[in-house]
Amino acid sequence: MARNPIADQVAIVGIGSTGFSRDSGGRSAKALACEASIRAIRDAGLGPGDIDGLVGAAEPGGPQPQEMSAALGLPQVSHFSSPTPVAVFALVDAMNAIYSGSCDTVLLYFAYTRLPWNSRSAAQDPFRRRHTLGVMPAPESVNAAAAYAAWASRYIHEYDVPREAFGRVALNARAGAANNPLAAMKAPLSMEGYLGARMIREPLCLLDMDVPVDGADAFVLTRTDRARAMTKSPIVIHAATVGLVGTNDEDQLPSLARHGQHVVVESLRAKSDLWLEDMDVFFPYDGFSIITLGWFENFGWCGPGGAGRFLEEHWDEASGRVMIDGRIPVNPHGGSLSEGATRGSGHIREAVMQLRGDADARQVPGARNALIGCGGFFFNSQGAILRRL
């Protein structure tokens, strides 16, 4: 086993969420972040004077840590940072800051606001319209988001994958969201509905892409020894990692057989006492459905190109969703495709809720261990294993 002295040493003791919607009704990202943060701090049974670390994901349009400190009146913090999205970068930074002694208790927040380039309604908002990209790029690019459609074409070419494989990712998410009061997209979805959805970047359609939303998630993290004084069974970070390969430019990635997800899986497996057979709930990121298929294959639930067949074999007809071995649900909160584009914070929050036993209609009985694969293929691959002590 690899060196992992931080295993189980940092706990998540508070969570708060605003819930997610296509339009928060004129509330700013900062207002949403404040609401989620206050909920999380209160959920932990703490107050502003207990927070000495502040980590906020650098989401476009979201508030900076110093703005949040001012808004929440935090008396003093000795660590603050704004890691790049997606969510596990910030989780890892908060974890390391606590374990290293930079601070004891971190408020970790993620605030999302629809922006003019991914939401037509946001483009009508005179305030949001001021957030622009700078240079309007040419269409002939596979930078950032478009890269997933481009590599989906390669995946389909190499493995002869039918659209239904992608569709099952979308259907599974929608089935979960139906039971999640925080979710933005709850209307039932059928395979016919998926196959009939508008193409955006073919081969990916509207329902292969996460839903731009307004909303915020927040977490409070502290040392596990302090958490034990607050609760009998704290939820701890057993292992967390990020992963990157050298050639990660989107169109130069050597192949689907070797990218950031593979580094994450190797690192996580080496750091963890727990692996697939120990898991009670699985959170593969779904900013794009192709990413989810990648996580299934790269974690080793199935072989390369086999995720579509795996989802079919482990499909629970009664509930219209995936149940691995009839036991392990996948993104039961609805994921980014249906809860909303939380860039992974929703996956972490749902993992904590499941491990606490607070997930109501979605609850996995007796859940103790959760596996999270966050981010995609290029420069934001990450993973975490959370457990209840």
Binding site: I200, E202, D249
Partner: protein
């Protein structure tokens, strides 16, 4: 080397309003103005890389020569935009706009991304052979691919 300073950096930025140009990739766009697709090649190990970087990722040599490539290759990735950023000559309502990443014949894994001009979207397939051509975009040359007829 003085040739690469024409036009000026300021003019270069004006000619390509849709590009993010910097000191690492300016030679690429100066090449476009001469209808030449150039990629950084290491003067030491002779490896190409793209997009342009300040050092050779293979050997850390910083003597890099923007070198013309043929533009011939094989379609490696192919997507079709049904909506996207506005561009002259691109009408998403009329037909989906193909965007392809082509693996160039010069070196395994060396790729360039553009569109395929002069054919129907359904003719654009992964594995198809293409060659380079130039079209006008906003008054400056823009590199595109064309399908090579199979004999």
């Amino acid at each position: 080397m003085t040739l690469t300073e024409i036009p000026s950096d300021a003019e270069l930025v004006e000619r390509f309003p849709y590009a993010s140009i910097d000191h690492d990739n300016k030679a690429l766009y100066r090449g476009w103005l001469e209808k030449s697709l150039r990629m950084n090649r290491c003067d030491d190990c002779q490896r190409f890389h793209h997009p342009p970087k300040p050092v050779c990722p293979s050997c850390w040599c910083s003597s890099l020569v923007p070198s013309e490539v043929s533009g011939r290759g094989t379609i490696h990735l192919a997507m079709f935009l049904h909506q996207g950023p506005p561009a002259p000559g691109v009408d998403y309502a009329k037909a989906p706009h193909p965007v392809v990443t082509v693996e160039l014949e010069e070196q395994e894994g060396l790729r360039f991304t553009s569109t395929v001009a002069g054919c129907a979207p359904e003719e654009v397939r992964i594995g198809a052979l293409v060659e380079l051509d130039w079209v006008d975009r906003l008054g400056a040359p823009f590199p595109v691919f064309r399908l090579v007829e199979k004999s």
